[in-house]
């Protein structure tokens, strides 16, 4: 009798094709240039200072940095949170209704990411994000939540 319990050997470890990495499973996404998102952040801040929240929100949600690294993603999250926290809660529903379906889904992704980040949990931001979440889902139904969960592209 050998010492190894051969029935318990994980045979998949000897097969290089047995699993796919997260990178391989990612559907094709455009590459991200960090400078573009720095410019975008400037643009959004400019719009915010002019008080054009609707356009700022659309600009921030238009091209999520799916192909970017964690640094780009974190800085873009900061940009989106700036817009979200600058909004009056009575305006949220009309803002959400003005977004396209794709942008609504991106918004939900940022709400989830915001709630899981330190930034989104501090300075009373969590309450604002929850209000956004509730009002968005009232408008869109559960589709964006399902897409947030199932989408392999992360913001």
């Amino acid at each position: 009798m050998s010492e190894i319990n051969w029935r318990r050997i994980n045979i998949d470890q000897y097969d290089p094709d047995s699993f796919m990495s997260a990178e391989e499973l990612l559907p094709p996404v455009p590459p991200v240039v960090a400078a573009d998102y720095a410019n975008l952040a400037q643009l959004v801040r400019g719009l915010l200072s002019k008080g054009d929240i609707s356009q700022a929100l659309i600009t921030a949600l238009e091209n999520p940095p799916y192909g970017g690294d964690e640094i780009v993603k974190a800085s873009h999250l900061k940009t989106v949170l700036e817009v979200l926290t600058a909004t009056k809660s009575s305006d949220i529903t009309s803002l959400v209704e003005s977004l396209s379906q794709e942008q609504q889904t991106t918004l939900i992704k940022y709400l989830y990411k915001g709630m899981s980040s330190i930034l989104g949990q501090s300075n009373g931001n969590a309450g604002i994000l929850l209000t956004w979440f509730q009002k968005t889902i009232d408008t869109t139904g559960s589709g964006p939540i399902v897409r947030h969960i199932s989408d392999r592209r992360t913001v």
Partner: protein
Amino acid sequence: MSQPTVLNLGHQPIADHSFSADHSLLAVACEDNVQLYNNDGKSFTPGIVLGDHDKSVTSIDISPSGRIVTCSQDRNALVWEPQADSSYKPTLVLLRINRAATFVRWSPDETKFAVGSGARAIAVCYFEEENDWWVSKHIKKPIRSTILSVTWHPNSVLIAAGSTDGHARVFSGYIKGVDQKPQPTIWGERLPFQTLCGDFVNHTGAWIHDVAFSPSGDSIAYCAHDSSITVVYPGGADRPPQAIYSVNTSFLPFKSLVWLSNNEIITAGHDCHPYIFSGNENGWEYTASIDDPADNTKEQSHENSALALFKQMDLKGSDQGLSTDYILKTIHQNTINTIRAFTHSGDKVTSVSTSGVDGKVVIFPL
């Protein structure tokens, strides 16, 4: 519109169901067994149980001539030949896969069937006369994840498959010596076995639950776990597709879909009732839902099971009838796993049958 026909077939989830061509037989995959029901036109009576699998039966299909093929998590597929004494003779199929078989469908001409599996392969099975058994050839490349569904082109050569890596692919399942040379289609002209005729990735990369060729065979549709359905119109061999339309919905994900005609698709899944989409080469949209809970004012009939009654007494100290909080206002009380065409009129589907986790089979007139 006439009322849906509801069959309550027990408490176990139904993985898949299939009616014979004349609707006299219903086969239901439930746990390790396949239960047959005989339909005399008025009611369905339980018939024999096909019980040769020793793990969950995942999929079942009845061919036009009445042969049944089943596949199971025990990595086997069985072909059941009807005998003169109305019993069935099982024949084991040599699948040669090392993971569960997930999905099986007969080709329209009945000479072959395709089995999807967790072994990153599709087994295309055909009958070998000289040895008197079913053998298989594997489509392996470039599949690298579990196949969740397979479907046949009307020409019985092309196969479409959806997998967990978010790809829907079209392959050639041409077997030399079994198939006639197929007519050229928009998917390609020369089609040796395992030719990849189309590879479409869902934009979110979510699991593809089901895939189907349109009745003409010139386009495919698939539903993914991101609550979307996608219709692809190919552009011809080695050319990019002419058009791809993704319809994102605000519903829960769809598990199964069927083309009603070349311009209509019905789909169902976690929302427990079917939805209809319509469109053409210029775009697709959601049009209607069937058995919509918003339109159903009356409560669905439900079973007063002893367990539910006990729960009621335990939780609320009440034996005054059952709380109806947990009852959905749809006929299906849980996820619909399979939707299939039931009757046709010309080239349009006029009713569909569904089966689900709640142990019901329902026939919806359209």
